[in-house]
Symmetry: C2
Subunit: 216 residues, 2 copies
């Protein structure tokens, strides 16, 4: 089974993806600027199944066959730029959202190229960028008993890559991958994360997007 | 019961809102540039319940206590600007999305003020703007037997107005109003419509957004 590296994987978003990837058999490398901290955090992650989670540097994580970017939005481009050679020829999944807190809400920020995925694509011209995992509540992702049953909206300009990521996501417990289309949809998909989180703050909930009426 | 006017109400989006408003008791005035055509279309709408749907001019529709803007995005500002005096002091619901077809996808357009709701708010400084009804599949809305069970994400800078619209929406069969927050969320909510429609084109479906995990 392929290994998956998660850049900036020690935060809630990265940990949630890690445990669910490992629970369907993948060996996950949780990357961080601080490998010792990543190792500590990885030890606290208990997947169910044959997969593993280990902590390492972001550079180690970038050696994996498939790489997920889960850094804060304002360090994503710097992180991937430094790893461009390692990421060359690979599929790189961006789950990055540019958001800002304003009072009780999170509001979207629009990067110069329209989306963080587009910023990352510009920084990684030799990689194939796919967007996924944007609207998921982190605490529910981390807890395999949360009953999560979410649709994950996926986009890329590369059809085989987005289909492959869609199949990968659908293997993960509690998730179903739904290919939405091209990078033209990156901006609304990323920005809608602000709506999901604002609803959850306002309604003291951990809601997530289901696409009712879609036959899976 | 209050009357509800729908500007540009003869299109699929307006008709779907009309039949479901009338089915929970509202008298709906379907506005159009062509009142005769609006009357013909209104006669074809068969709500269940005490409400009615009649066709009229947009000016007639704008006399109602509550007004919904359902015109195409590129005529919304011109339509409401001409009716500013009639709409003064009222709550105006925008369901307008600025979208463009590109191949198999719909992609979002970003109006100068970030959203069509903001454009409409600028054109109607004496009205209170609320956004609602953006992500709904029109055919399912029009068909009361479609089994529709959708969450409608609502935004406004005016808290009483958005709460009131949320309650109105939750009265409509098949819909639940969920207040997301302020006009800062207008842009991602409107733009996400492009994602919903693109998914439906690609997957030959009529899916819609449910916020799983939200206790209603």
């Amino acid at each position: 089974m392929e290994t998956v590296g998660i850049l900036g994987g020690t935060g809630p978003a990265g940990r949630g993806v890690a445990i669910r990837l490992a629970s369907c058999g993948y060996d996950v490398v949780l990357g961080s600027r601080d490998a010792a901290r990543a190792s500590d955090i990885a030890k606290g992650i208990a997947p169910r199944g044959d997969g593993t989670v280990r902590g390492a540097t972001n550079e180690d994580a970038a050696q994996c066959g498939l790489v997920v970017v889960a850094t804060p939005w304002d360090s994503a481009v710097a992180t991937v730029s430094a790893l461009r050679a390692h990421l060359s020829g690979k599929t790189v999944i961006s789950m990055v959202n540019a958001l800002s807190r304003e009072g009780r809400e999170l509001v979207p920020l629009y990067p110069a190229r329209g989306s963080m995925a587009a910023q990352i694509a510009f920084a990684l011209p030799d990689s194939t960028i796919v967007g996924a995992f944007h609207h998921l509540p982190a605490a529910q992702m981390e807890d395999l008993d949360s009953g999560l049953d979410a649709d994950v909206v996926i986009f890329s300009d590369n059809d085989p890559a987005r289909q492959r990521v869609g199949e990968l996501v659908s293997q993960m417990p509690g998730l179903k991958g739904v290919v939405a289309g091209s990078m033209s949809l990156a901006s609304p998909i990323e920005a809608f994360t602000a709506v999901c989180i604002s609803i959850n703050i306002r309604h003291k909930a951990h809601s997530y997007v289901k696409l009712a009426g879609l036959s899976h």
